[in-house]
Symmetry: D2
């Protein structure tokens, strides 16, 4: 266990820094005979990559995925699926003077503390580029979940700073709706305000945080393992493993802590041929196991740490200095996190689904 | 992986339902030659057990732990430490009519969906009694962390419903201070209001949720594994695996999502002979790795699902019915979760510490 | 990973030394609704325990297993099954002078090197008593494999020193036949010679090694995972983890290394409605995956290290000395290893079966 | 767990079939700041590849390794090391008529049974080409073990069919000596006979098995985990996971089963400043933990299953047929297995070394 593996039966191992040959993942444990081509994976990778809009960084990394192994004639073999995306810039950089200054709220200092070295890109595996392997692996899980169980996973931007979207209907929201604007907030009016806010902060060399909501529909009852591997626990790990996340809520979340039991309990009711609940404060899980209702969770993302504004700080030796980051930086990344959140959710669910199948 | 194991090198396996012989844990991977007796473990178990005060259930379960293996002459051998707490009531119950009605927001329905059966206690391993094994195991981790690194872990109740404690100083708060009142809120004035609120809800047959804060002090820089096993990710899994939790935040949490990068970034500054940060919005972790600052996190707990108030709901067959739970029930459990949160935090940290040692 | 856990989905964690409260295991991942009582487990434990015959040590440890958790009303819940056998002698001993002398070919020296301490029993978890947890866990696996797939596992003593049993028919050999004599060799004539040999060595204060054969019948084709977790690889790990084992062979084994491909290849042939093989040099596995033929393997056991004969050796400080072990010692343990081998085989198979089910 | 991962802290995940883009491995958990270039890895890969001599297949696959990630400026970062070797022939083949006939003692039938499909190469991941990832990963482990602990690992061919090498001195044997002849048997006279035997079998369209011996020198006392992860148990798993292996012995092995305790026990004696043993029937491990003596083990390899000789067998539908494999095939692969055995041994040891470090 050194951090880059996830899952028990659907096991994903990612690799790669920003300035090596490339990044990718090995997906072990995908069942055989799933139809799978690079196009199936590329879709989410393309949604993830930078350079897509004026609210994101203008770098246009192509991020074309290549399947290295594990499929033949367009179908999975059941063996490890190798996934690879080449880096455009494969030379280790020398950050010069900047490399003497750990960037505030970046991982430069902690990687140096942990490893006694740093990749030239600073935070090494803490870079957003690392998430490419996750998104590629998650796209496979999504396809299987969709084909086998009709599972649908949709994430969207519900807040940008203090701008909040009005409520979105989790029963109907679709990815098409989410992608209707560049900030991926399905409330078009709020989206406009968010875009204006981000654009202004970009000019100011600053950044801002936000919140993602995610719904998982058609998850059967019975997924998730008791005690340490509860469904919400693994979702929490998955989400809090995404760079820049600061919080996770399921169902009622922190608001639920303010409620009384008589308000918060979800009464049972027959829904077609299954037992469902009238309300869904539980967020689709009870005792760590899915109950058949939509799984609802939220993820808090901090403001991007790299800003152009001058920051007083200290260098590695403790000398006071001022850091001014050069180049263009993303003022907002919550919209780009949408496919990452969906992918991590898919990885968790598929692993749980396979484990539950073993009991059948 | 079926849920009851946690950790890679410090590996905890828990077992036990409410009405079997007992509950406990096997702790594998504890280094040898740690002084350890049952008294070291009992302390936190006693803080966890019910029947401690008027705000909790009057059941007085003794919960005396017995070390089954792994120590000799008061020291750990380095081999698995067996921990066992006998149940007072070891007969599987028959809930009679009630067993036909899945309790709202309990795990009766999901366990039935998952396993095609239910323990007589209803939610089986989702019971709070399961946490005994965690607390026992966590007490061992705490002792090692304290002796080897001076690590201190203190949790407290920061909110009961909408009653919130005024700010607590995480640098100095102690367990003695937390235990000064029965609700474990170090703000004495807020504590009084909370106790009054809970007492009133108890009379009304209702319950209420709350929030726990936790600080980890003296954690060295460099703990936590990149990518999927980031320190905050494993803490999130650990906390969200505790029964009744609905949310997790580290550092600035959801509030951080509202901030701008220029406000949120933690500038570096020399603190004695180490590089520290001026602010701590990061909550002691950057890029998933501890940075030497206090680790600060919060956990949301939903209101207790078992209430005496009548609840309209449906039975397993979907027939409408009304559930009235009998007996005395905890109207508030957030104070009892204090040692559980501390124990899970200790388990995460110790595992990370051992993994980091392997690199030395 | 500190050694006392085995399996991925059917996960066994054992604990206990010779002089602590007891020994046992936690079995996580057993499917729900398997009928299971202590009697189902006791049978193999009783076959394992010492004191059964004149060729073994006369100590009569009762080894009564108690189920601590995970079953109700005689059925598994799907939750961790706690298994416990109390030790008769629970006081840590002081071996006095003897404790200064590491016993040759025992684990006293290596445990001291590894942990900087030793359990009073010397080799701690290397004791044969540790295998109680395995046998208890294996009995559960056996029951499930038998009920779900008709799997039969039978081991027997095929050699005692240079005395070898004539060939045994693996298609028909039964545990009843194996247990017909105290040395568990189904060749009655060889068994008599073996018993005489062992009896003579007992008088001489010496010991002798031997070989076990094992057959697994009715294992479906398709179990075992490619590459590192090949069925024969996990069987090899399982068998070589049993105390005192020195070798493992599957199918043709070392004899196969002397053969030519044209002799060794197993041609296919229709057997009823399945494709089988004419010969079975492969031992029931090809490419690490079961092929439906009987799985055949052999395990070499070294002579018991504890002997009464005086042994020149050195103490921990390197001083030359002579060790004379006191008390009665088993001159032969290969017959007692029969249920241990069967149990470990069952644990491997059940884990593989559950993993394969996840693909269904 | 789906078979392609190995190790706990030094974790290797391999991928790739014969006719996809390539094969390789991700190595997670390698400590930072180890000097590492492709040349360090290539050496063992070159020893592994086919086409090296007249006793092996004349195919000359270049097998040039590329490091995809995890190093910068010639040093490891501590992050996952991606390793890749492109396949020369990346088109999935159609074996035509042959694909209807499962090759005897190959994995065609078992892969079909397990996955409901087969890679065009037949046995998919059971191909020898899969071992490239292992050898690349093992080369990294070897370098670390050598630099940190002076560990030396040397394997050689000790038998080809019934031709056996005279005894080789495990204290001095070197890889240079092993590589002095093409069959990698350090007994030059036996080597000549072996080469003649293999050459004759090649002409006859047949193949032959053999035995490898391996010694690990300078392994410190204290490596290996008790119970299930004993050093010999993990070595056994590692070796029996190599294609075509049928047996594993440590120390005295099956011969030890014929011995008496008074002969087999290894008396202690002072060796310089450490306690060693006079004899080494234990093979360097006691109770699953290294004792500081050379670790000695042997691996049996069956004859290559692919032969040119006509073989009567059945097709997948059970119809009797005759299989005649086309093309050139290796009549003997035991010499090529030398670096594979060394690599797997290194992977096991490094993982154990890191785990033991965590206790320090």
């Amino acid at each position: 266990m050194s951090g880059s593996n996830f899952g028990t039966l659907f096991r994903v191992s990612t690799f790669g820094e920003s300035h090596c040959a490339g990044v990718g993942a090995i997906v072990d444990g995908c069942p055989p005979n799933l139809e799978l081509t690079e196009a199936d994976i590329q879709k989410q990778l393309t949604r993830r990559r930078p350079g897509q809009s004026k609210v994101n960084t203008p770098r246009d990394e192509k991020d074309q995925v290549k399947i290295l192994s594990g499929t033949e004639h367009g179908k999975t073999l059941g063996t490890p699926i190798g996934l690879f995306v080449a880096n455009q810039d494969q030379r280790p950089h020398d950050y010069g003077e900047m490399s003497q200054i750990p960037r505030p709220s970046h991982a430069d200092f902690t990687y140096q503390s942990k490893y006694g070295n740093r990749a030239s890109s600073g935070g090494g595996r803490s870079s957003a580029r690392e998430t490419i392997g996750r998104v590629a692996a998650g796209a496979i899980a999504e396809k299987w979940l969709s084909e086998q169980h009709g599972v649908e996973i949709v994430a969207w931007v519900s807040a940008c700073g203090d701008l909040e979207a009005s409520e979105v209907n989790p029963d109907t929201i679709s990815r098409d709706q989410v992608d209707q604007n560049i900030i991926r907030c399905p409330d078009m009016k709020a989206a406009e305000e968010m875009i204006a806010r981000v654009t202004a902060l970009k000019e100011a060399g600053d950044s801002i945080g936000g919140v993602l909501n995610c719904v998982i529909r058609n998850c059967p009852a019975g997924w998730g393992e008791p005690v340490f591997d509860k469904l919400e626990a693994k979702l929490a790990q998955a989400m809090m493993s995404i760079p820049a996340t600061k919080g996770f809520e399921i169902g009622s979340g922190f608001a639920g802590a303010r409620m009384q039991g008589s308000q918060h309990n979800d009464p049972f009711v027959m829904k077609g041929n299954r037992l469902g609940t009238v309300t869904n404060y539980s967020g689709g899980v009870q005792g760590g196991i899915s109950n058949g209702e939509p799984i609802l969770f939220r993820v808090a993302i901090k403001p991007v740490a790299t800003i152009s504004k001058a920051q007083p700080t200290a260098d590695f030796s403790g000398n006071e200095t001022v850091l001014e980051a050069k180049g263009r930086h993303d003022p907002f990344v919550v919209n780009r996190a949408v496919p990452i959140v969906e992918s991590m959710a898919a990885m968790v669910l598929m692993d749980m689904a396979l484990i539950q199948r073993s009991r059948a």
